[in-house]
């Protein structure tokens, strides 16, 4: 199978140009659905594809990825492309750091340029209290071997002059914390790169295939009912992002998850003006993260829209909030125009951390609850989740993400917000 897909390189591009067409072949399309697999992965988003890739590559399993719509049509292609591992809790930062290390080499591993850009992720502090909270987080990261730096105003001016940190603002900037290895990754490329690599390892990716039910016998799953018929499977993994709640309902298990919309928006392209990722959280329900894509558009996001929804239609008022924050933090951008807005559906868990665990049956698994962190964890989640599904044992890295933690109290509440995805 591997030989069917030409290796990507500048040389290959040159050969393709000289060949005058017919040189490249499909990355993943054209595969046929078989009757039975070792593992059926439901959902061809980032996590499903990455897990399938590792199941096939690391564990030699026969895998199908069944996708209701299109490869990468969900959150993997709708996020704001930020990757970072600047988390407070050890359970989180070790996991996100594993992912960040994988991002660093992923283009080479997949032979697909996912455009990992370590331009730094900068959290802005608006008070000494913020600085202290950031120090707490950054110190924890540094002890775990993760890069973090606290920036006072002069340091901030050097790192990010475009912020004009000393400018008079309603909420003046005190300083910030930067993780320089954090940055961005081209989101669609991640889906396509994993899909291509998984296909090369024999995974069947079947689009337009809706999984409608789980067939079980004697307490174990035997396969899935789909819009293209029944597919036998020794193991089933659900990686369905915004629709996880529905999986719980299908299996008769209410989950500690609410589904919320998260918006993103982008401006017309302008010449480089922001060279890092800026995160500005201020009182009065204000949050904005802003970066500039390689095409030149300012990409922005903020808080959840504020109530459960599957519409993928963002509220204009939230867009206003995000834009208010952007203009506050980057007054120079005031005259730049918004050209596009979109939204993704986020699984929000009751402590803000993910769930990677068995679900109800011994051979049914769940990869869900990614809240704001789904995109950045794809490489780590794919590798670890594949081990869980293949061996039945969770690697240490994902052991804390058990579903039972809400019952036992082993919460991973990074922000201290409690069981309310939207702050009261």
């Amino acid at each position: 199978m591997t030989g069917a897909i030409p290796r990507y390189s500048a040389l290959a591009l040159l050969r393709a140009r000289l060949s005058g067409g017919g040189f490249w072949s499909p990355l993943w399309t054209g595969r046929k659905l078989k009757d039975a697999y070792d593992v059926v992965v439901v959902g061809a988003g980032g996590h499903g594809l990455a897990t399938a890739y590792h199941l096939a590559r690391d564990h030699g399993l026969k895998v199908a990825v069944l996708e209701r719509r299109l490869v990468g049509y969900g959150n993997v292609g709708r996020n704001t492309t930020i990757v970072r591992s600047n988390y407070l809790l050890p359970e989180n930062h070790y996991f996100y750091e594993d992912s960040l290390r994988r991002w660093e080499t992923l283009s080479k591993d997949l032979n697909y340029n996912v455009m990992y850009s370590p331009r730094g992720v900068l959290d802005l502090a608006l008070s000494d209290g913020d600085m202290q909270d950031m120090a707490r987080r950054g110190n924890a990261m540094r002890l775990a071997g993760i890069d973090a730096e606290l920036l006072d105003l002069p340091a901030l001016e050097r790192f990010c002059p475009e912020l004009e940190p000393r400018r008079q603002r309603r909420f003046p900037i005190f300083g910030g914390m930067v993780q320089r290895r954090g940055g961005t990754v081209r989101h669609d490329a991640v889906a396509w790169g994993y899909a291509r690599a998984a296909t090369a390892h024999g995974v069947d990716i079947i689009e337009d295939c809706d999984v409608q039910g789980l067939r079980t016998a004697a307490g174990v799953a035997t396969g899935v009912e789909t819009s293209r018929g029944y597919v036998k499977a020794d193991r089933v993994l659900f990686a369905t992002a915004g629709h996880t709640g529905m999986i719980g309902t299908m299996l008769g298990m209410p989950l500690p998850i609410e589904t919320h919309l998260l918006q993103a928006m982008v401006t017309e392209p302008i010449k480089p003006m922001v060279n890092t990722v800026i995160i500005y959280v201020y009182p009065g329900h204000g949050e904005v993260y802003v970066l500039q894509s390689d095409k030149g558009g300012l990409v922005m996001g903020g808080f959840l829209d504020g109530f459960p929804s599957y519409t993928r239609e963002g509220q204009w008022s939230r867009l206003e909030n995000v834009v208010e924050g952007t203009v506050a933090v980057l007054p120079r951008a005031a005259g730049v125009k918004i050209v596009r807005q979109w939204a993704g559906t986020n699984d929000m868990t009751m402590d803000g951390s993910p769930i990677i665990d068995r679900l109800r049956h011994d051979n049914v698994f769940l990869n869900a609850g990614w809240c704001y962190g789904g995109f950045k964890t794809i490489p780590a989640s794919g590798a670890a989740c594949a081990t869980l599904v293949a061996t039945g044992t969770a690697p240490d890295l994902i052991k804390p993400f058990k579903l039972s933690r809400f019952q036992t109290g082993h919460l991973l509440d990074e922000r201290g917000g409690g069981p309310f995805p939207v702050r009261l």
Partner: protein
């Protein structure tokens, strides 16, 4: 053209001077930058993003992908302004973008020599070695269009909110007819029109309405609408719909500045946004001088611009003949009309025009196509061939090549929020179908392109809208008219070309997406239109896919060998039209990003050296400048003074909730960890709330004012949250019971008076009438009375460890009381000193209430043991909270008594130097003790006396610390009781 006086419907005659790319030009009042430059013979106006190809104006509206200018002079410039919308003003300075060193000579344009090498997906296959980031900076510098200003000094943009019966978007024939019908039916009508004047295609179309010339009818209609009270908002673009509310953006002159955002909530909306003309893909269809036919007609009618001397028109419909006729009439020579359809597909009216054109010397070619535009920097000719034998080419000399592949109805606004569309083969386009209640399309958006039918459709939509909005039905005669007949279009998307040629058949101009890109994309298995869009950037330009979206989908369908109806177009995203961020932010900019809440003492603090810092929406003094140059130094001075003499601090930002009613005590019992019902009238208690999951939410003092009346105070940052929390339980579990909850935060100013002289000062200020009751106050008791005729309560409570009182007074007397206390010898202190005093005494500072701590973590065992079954209690019993490694609040000090450690330092034990066992929640330099003291949350495995390392690699490195009692100062509490 220069020298000839131009006449156009928009021109006012007066001459204006302006500057483009460093050269001076003149234009007329009413011109746009694009029309004035065209009139001056300027063709090249920009370069594309990817290949940096030289480009001219393609369209006459905001869908223009090429001619985007930077306007203004450094530092105040606006990038990416659509030249066809940029109104000419005297002294206007504009420049082209995306070129270096000049528009004519651009170094990066050499990239286009790479052709297919840089095609779709190119980046994904290269730059892997050594890393993308190594290549990123130069690639980023090449991308982007204009440059953001160094200073964007734009005025705040008002947002105007209103409602009406019928909102009509679009002031062309359909929109005007709809507005007229609705207004005649008695509806309150608002009409928004993107252009500075109404009329749309009536500006140039031949024909008549109700026996008048089209523009006469427009004038008459506007006059009648005005009489009927309709509101006509020109230069106003519909930008978004949001669940029944519509956002429209008034941007006169095409520049941000005096903009307004209208938020209009109509009962019904009629979308009459017309249709956008699309090009046909042929080789070099992006050369300056290639323009849409409709754009050429608009430039002629509006601004008297003759787009060339010798023209070739290329189209697949009848309208080309009407256009050619008008262009000839305006003095241009039409060398050829190239029609892709067979000769007999042409309708009667067009056929007679064709005959006249032929008689006048125009060659009219059926079943032919323009294969390529010829020329270097601009159009010099066209290569034309019969479709049956594409190799039999002929070259026609021309200086402008006008193209039209049909129209895409503007369904963008309609397909968001649940509208649907269907493919119409006779138009080769998708038209709107079912719309949600309250919304209808009219005219071009419905695929209706013939004037009479457009008027009828608009009238019907307007009548219906008025009726559904509950107004009358208009019985007067609908306008009737006839203009250019229906176009009889036969879809045609691209001219024949070889593979090399496909690399220069442009579909999305701004992003340089070509037919070759689509072919390559399909080869790699990107079949779905959504995938193709993402892979090729088709439709991602500032025109939001208006020019290339449908064309790309159609060519994709052709390459896939499937019907366009099945391939579909990619989902169009909001906003309908791009809009400047300043306009979206409205009045919430600069200092007004968020409202500021002020205590009654705000002005006093500012006038007396107070350095105010935001806390939530409040501003509170952190310190006073007379006490030191910065918070650290001043805080020490202020805190020391409190312990030595005394001081006052403004506590008015505390949240205050009055809970009243016969069931108030029982209600509060469920909301707090300990019971409120045991508090006696005239006394108070320190109380703690839990969140539903058992974590500590907030703390504060609860005063019992009467048997059935309590005043609960909350921390300043949690006031709003706590109020909602109280109200939630009042409205759910306590619904219908005898309890009321009222926010009285502003009803009481709070002045905390602390220190050894506090009682003396208070007695001096409040006078003899209060002395007895104040002297009698025991810890946590309060007295109430009047001062200066206003309510005052004096509570004896302390968070500083000193003898202290909280004065709760009506705001009217706050400043007077405060000033009297100052006169009595007490100086104000700020939050910095407050924190020092609290930490010295082991009282919680806000960082311990972080939503991650249980009451047991915070050492509240005594309160827990009382066993009050409150909210959150059930979930405190979970196993994790009983584990030996669970954190506990404890004191911390440097082992050597000299070292520094800060809040946020992680604590590690010797056996696990990289695995924190806790962290410092807060620390201060204690002036009373002469050393740093702090509070920490540390694993219970480490008890008082243990030595740990406070690790702070981000700031000051390591410090050996010892765990201590949380009370660092005056452990016996003697000072407080004095």
């Amino acid at each position: 053209m220069s020298g000839n006086l131009r006449r156009g419907t928009r021109l006012r005659g007066e001459t204006l001077r302006f500057r483009f790319d460093g050269r001076d030009y003149t234009g007329q009042v009413g011109d746009t930058a694009a029309s004035a430059l065209l009139a001056n013979g300027v063709r090249a106006m920009g370069r594309s993003v990817k290949y940096r190809r030289l480009r001219g104006v393609l369209a006459a509206g905001p869908e223009e992908p090429n001619a985007l200018f930077t306007v203004g002079t450094d530092p105040c410039v606006i990038p990416n302004v659509y030249a066809p919308q940029l109104e000419l003003t005297d002294g206007l300075v504009a420049r082209s973008q995306n070129r270096w060193p000049s528009l004519r000579y651009d170094v990066a344009s050499l990239l286009q020599a790479g052709g297919g090498f840089f095609g779709a997906g190119f980046y994904y296959k290269t730059f892997i070695w050594p890393s993308w980031h190594a290549w990123e900076a130069p690639i980023r510098a090449l991308a982007g269009l204009g440059t953001a200003p160094r200073d964007a000094n734009l005025a705040p943009v008002p947002h105007e909110h209103s409602s009406c019966d019928v909102l009509v978007a679009g002031g062309g024939a359909a929109g005007l007819a709809a507005a007229l019908a609705a207004a005649r039916g008695g509806a309150r009508v608002v009409l928004v029109e993107r252009e500075p004047v109404c009329g749309g295609e009536l500006e140039f179309e031949s024909g008549a309405i109700d026996g008048q010339a089209p523009l006469e009818w427009v004038r008459a209609t506007l006059a009648e609408l005005d009489r009927l009270g309709a509101r006509i908002l020109t230069a106003t673009t519909l930008v978004a719909g949001n669940g029944g509310e519509y956002v429209a953006h008034f941007e006169p002159g095409g520049l941000p500045g005096c903009s307004t955002m209208y938020k209009i909530r109509p009962k019904q909306i009629v979308l009459a946004l017309g249709a956008v003309e699309r090009p046909i893909a042929f080789v070099n269809n992006d050369l300056p001088g290639v323009m849409l036919i409709g754009a050429a007609e608009r430039f002629l009618a509006r601004y008297g611009v003759r787009i060339g001397k010798t023209l070739v028109l290329f189209a697949n419909h009848d309208r080309a003949y009407a256009a050619a006729t008008r262009l000839v009439a305006a003095g241009m020579r039409v060398r050829a009309v190239v029609d892709t359809r067979p000769a007999d597909a042409v309708g009667a009216a067009a056929a007679s025009r064709r005959a006249a054109l032929v008689a006048g010397g125009t060659e009219c070619l059926a079943e032919h196509a323009v294969l390529a535009a010829r020329g270097g920097r601009e159009v010099r000719g066209a290569t034309i061939a019969p479709l049956a034998t594409p190799s039999a080419t002929r070259n026609f000399g021309c200086d402008a090549l006008l193209v039209s592949g049909g129209w895409g109805p503007s369904v963008h606004a309609g397909t968001q929020e649940g509208g649907t569309k269907r493919y119409d083969a006779s138009l080769g386009a998708f038209v709107a179908t079912e719309q949600p209640a309250g919304r209808a399309n009219a005219g071009g958006a419905n695929g209706i392109l013939e004037l009479g039918a457009v008027l009828a459709d608009g009238t019907a939509a307007g009548r219906n809208a008025a009726r559904v909005a509950g107004r009358g039905s208009d019985a007067s005669a609908a306008p009737t008219g006839a203009g250019d007949p229906a176009p009889r279009l036969v879809p045609f998307w691209r001219s024949p070309a070889d593979r090399a040629g496909e690399k220069r058949q442009f579909i999305d101009y701004q992003n340089d997406t070509t037919v070759a890109d689509l072919r390559a994309t399909l080869e790699e298995g990107f079949i779905d239109v959504e995938h193709v869009k993402r892979y090729t950037a088709l439709g991602f330009g500032t025109d939001q896919g208006r020019i290339g979206g449908l064309l790309g989908a159609a060519i994709l369908a052709e390459l896939r060998g499937e019907p366009l109806a099945e391939v579909g177009t990619s989902r169009l995203r909001p906003p309908y039209h791009s809009v400047a961020m300043r306009s979206i932010a409205g009045l919430r900019v600069d200092e007004n990003l968020r409202i500021t809440r002020r205590t009654p003492l705000y002005d006093w603090h500012l006038a007396h050296g107070g350095v105010l810092e935001p806390m939530d929406l409040w501003m509170r003094p952190r310190y006073y400048t007379q006490n030191g140059p910065a918070a650290y130094e001043a805080g020490i001075v202020e805190a020391r003074r409190v312990r030595e003499v005394g001081g006052i601090v403004d506590g008015s930002t505390l949240g205050k909730i009055e809970v009243a009613g016969p069931d108030a005590a029982a209600f509060l019992d469920t909301l707090y960890l300990t019971k409120a019902s045991t508090i006696k009238v005239g006394r108070s208690k320190y109380m703690v709330n839990l969140r539903e999951d058992g974590m500590v939410l907030d703390d504060g003092i609860v005063l019992r004012l009467a048997e059935d009346r309590f005043l609960a105070t909350t921390s300043s940052g949690h006031g709003a949250h706590m109020l909602s929390h109280f109200e939630h339980y009042r409205d759910t579990e306590w619904s219908g019971r005898g309890v009321t909850v009222t926010d009285v935060t502003e009803a009481w100013a709070v002045i905390v008076v602390a220190g050894p002289t506090s009682r003396t000062a208070l007695n001096a200020v409040l006078g003899a009438s209060w002395a007895e009751s104040i002297d009698a106050l025991t810890h946590m008791a309060f007295a109430r009375g009047l001062h200066g005729g206003q309510d005052l309560a004096v509570l004896r409570a302390s968070f500083s460890g000193e003898l202290a009182f909280e004065l709760h007074c009506r705001p009217a007397i706050a400043v007077g009381l405060w000033e009297s206390l100052v006169a009595a010898g007490l100086q104000p202190y700020g939050l910095e000193a407050l924190d020092i005093l609290r930490v010295e005494k082991g009282y919680l500072v806000s960082s311990e209430l972080n939503g991650q701590t249980t009451p047991a973590d915070l050492g509240m065992d005594v309160m827990i043991k009382l066993g009050n079954p409150c909210i959150g209690r059930d979930l405190l019993d979970r196993p994790a909270f009983r584990e030996a490694t669970r954190p506990r609040l404890i004191g911390v000090r440097a082992v050597d008594g000299r070292g520094r450690f800060y809040g946020g330092a992680q604590l590690t034990a010797a056996d696990a130097p990289n695995r924190p066992c806790g962290y410092v929640t807060s620390s201060v330099y204690s002036p009373a003790l002469g050393e740093w003291v702090g509070l920490a949350l540390v694993s219970r495995l480490h008890a008082e006396g243990a030595v740990l390392t406070a690790r702070d690699p981000l700031r000051i490195g390591d410090c050996a610390v010892r765990l201590t009692s949380i009370v660092h100062y005056d452990a016996s509490g003697g000072r407080m009781k004095s």
